[in-house]
């Protein structure tokens, strides 16, 4: 969205289908990893819990970086 002199332009970018597929897969992994981490503590499997927490964190960071980079690459030029 760019702030022009007297108009607002809202850029809506259509994401390809695979983006949503990846996003869904990512969400599934995140849920799975966090659930595994929490459940592993209950099961007394602390190493499994630690690895799961780390994996969930890394996956979240990677997704955030990918998101930011994707947004930067497709940032619309300012219009007047």
């Amino acid at each position: 969205m760019t702030n022009g002199a007297d108009v607002f332009t809202i850029a809506i970018r259509k994401r390809p289908w695979w983006f949503w597929a990846l996003a869904g897969l990512w969400l599934l992994f995140e849920i799975l990893l966090v659930q595994t981490a929490v459940a592993s503590v209950e099961e007394g499997e602390y190493r499994a819990a630690t690895i799961s927490w780390i994996a969930a964190f890394v996956l979240a960071v990677v997704a955030a970086l990918a998101w930011l980079r994707g947004n930067q690459a497709h940032r619309p030029s300012e219009q007047r």
């Binding site: 897969l25 599934l28 992994f29 799975l32 659930q35 595994t36 459940a39 592993s40 209950e42 099961e43 007394g44 499997e45 602390y46 190493r47 499994a48 690895i51």
Partner: protein, 507 residues
């Protein structure tokens, strides 16, 4: 592509017969260096042997590949597992769809050579075998040495062997130790239930399917984890009742055309009309089992057997109350594993024990023989035999080297404790029991280390099992990840007392 990736680069192909077996990174915390030396011949590589040299040492690249593959498989498997818990039949009313029902057992199917087995199991065989192999007095010397160690470890409050640890186990054994085939809880005739005749009604009748469903519900209520119905196979029934001590005479177990079971001074009589067997698996407490081999681990076994006695006694009374005959058995009278395989409770695995899809091998088995007509279940296939072919984790973890490392199961038995006439990965029970004497308790490391022995809380376990059942190519990767996640390692016995154990011990 995924299959090729897994098979060529991920499968550890552990050749544990290699002399270059590296000791696990850390010695079990409850064992001193002196203990290690003493147990050296039994524990060549410590509690867990999870890393080997050379080609078996997987690198970072392989680990990353395994991680990626397993994550992808896990995601797909979790979807499959979560949507598939609507299956029917088998050992519980609703079972996951990835547990396929098959016509013949995947392993352990009997040939004509399979014969009724002596009731004198490994516990009865151990003493004469010990004397035969190591000379007169060797057994007594071993027991005396064991008694000294028990006292010493209890005095020094060794973790897992302190007096409270020992007595926790002893307390858990109480019900099992107070049973004897044919008497008390395991009576072959009515204990206290009122029969239909006493109530003034006819005995209960229904279709075999309804009867099976009813019996399963009752068994589940009494505490069974898994229940299945198998047809009677007389070859699975022992020839003799197990002896309590050497002074007792062997009692034959016979089939006769009689109406009610009978126990006399000379023999046990099973009516031929008893054509059905309710096979039951009692889940062990994983929190205790993860502390094996200690008295705490032994308590998990004890709880399993004591629960078994209660479940079969209650179920037998229930069946008698419906107007039929029932014989409750724990480990006695017949072989539990083949009945459980036939009833679809699980498959025979590398440790030559029943492995269930839900609880792995961490179960204790028991059964009720009956003349109550029921619809029988069929064996199951959840990909275990293929998994076991490439896994070997139990065999590597076994400190006494009692389990088979062979690639394929065979007909080759290891001793008089094995019954020939079926294919299996036969175990050396003599070595196994010898190790029991060294650690002053039952062992169960193979049960705890099996990748199928997992708690029910984490969804990922169900996802992995589901994926393994449909994609054997992923088995090697799962095995690597199981080690990487630290599963199967011994937990600290001292910490158990600071936990809040679940009611009835099913943690």
């Amino acid at each position: 592509m995924l299959a090729a990736l897994t098979l060529e680069s991920l499968n550890p192909s552990v050749d544990a017969r290699s002399p270059k077996v590296r000791r696990a990174a850390s010695r079990p915390f409850n064992r001193s260096a002196e203990d290690d030396l003493r147990l050296a011949e039994y524990t060549p590589a410590g509690r867990m042997i999870d890393v080997e040299e050379g080609r078996n040492h997987f690198g970072r690249r392989a680990l990353l590949k395994a991680g990626g593959f397993v994550t992808a498989s896990g995601a797909l498997g979790s979807i499959w597992a979560l949507v598939s818990r609507t299956g029917t039949g088998g050992a519980v009313r609703k079972r996951a769809r990835w547990i396929k029902v098959v016509d013949r057992p995947t392993l352990g199917e009997k040939t004509a050579e399979y014969k009724r087995f002596s009731g004198n199991d490994m516990f009865a065989l151990y003493r004469p075998l010990k004397i035969q192999r190591e000379g007169a007095g060797s057994f007594e010397a071993e027991q005396a040495s064991k008694a000294k160690r028990v006292a010493a470890w209890a005095s020094e409050k060794k973790p897992g062997y302190s007096l409270p640890d020992i007595q926790l186990s002893e307390g858990a054994w109480t019900l099992e130790h107070s049973t004897k085939p044919g008497t008390g809880l395991l009576s072959w005739t009515r204990i206290s239930v009122r029969t239909p005749a006493e109530l003034g009604v006819l005995r209960h009748t229904a279709s075999p399917e309804e009867m099976a469903s009813m019996v399963k519900s009752a068994a589940r209520l009494y505490g069974a984890g898994l229940v299945g119905i198998a047809p009677m196979n007389e070859a699975y029934v022992n020839l003799q009742a197990p002896r309590e001590d050497e002074k007792e005479k062997d009692k034959d177990i016979v089939f006769e055309d009689v109406d009610v079971p009978a126990v006399t001074d000379a023999r046990f009589v099973i009516p031929r009309k008893m054509k059905w067997v309710v096979a039951i698996a009692i889940p062990m407490d994983l929190d205790l089992l993860s502390r094996t081999p200690t008295s705490l681990g032994d308590a998990a076994t004890a709880m399993g057997y004591s629960h078994s006695a209660f479940v079969v006694a209650s179920l037998a009374e229930f069946i008698r109350g419906l107007g039929y005959q029932a014989i409750p058995c724990v480990n006695d009278t017949a072989q539990s594993v083949p009945f459980a395989v036939d009833a679809g409770i699980g498959e025979l695995g590398r440790l030559n024990k029943l492995v269930t899809p839900e609880f792995g091998p961490a179960v204790r088995l028991c059964k009720v023989l009956t003349d109550l007509p029921m619809a029988c279940d069929k064996p199951v296939d959840f990909g275990l035999v293929e998994f076991c072919k490439g896994c070997r984790k139990c065999a590597e973890a076994c400190p006494s080297r009692a389990l088979s490392f062979d690639d394929e199961p065979s007909f080759k038995t290891k001793g008089p404790w094995n019954n020939s006439g079926h294919k299996a990965w036969f175990e050396d029970s003599y070595k196994c029991l010898q190790y029991w004497q060294k650690v002053n308790s039952g062992c169960g490391i193979c049960l705890a280390s099996c990748p199928y022995t997992k708690g029910a809380q984490a969804w990922i376990h169900e996802a992995v099992k589901a994926t393994a059942s449909i994609a054997p190519a992923a088995d090697g990767a799962f095995r690597i990840m199981d080690n990487a996640f630290g599963y199967g390692k011994q937990h600290n016995p001292e910490q158990w007392w600071r936990k809040d154990p679940p009611s009835g011990g099913r943690g």
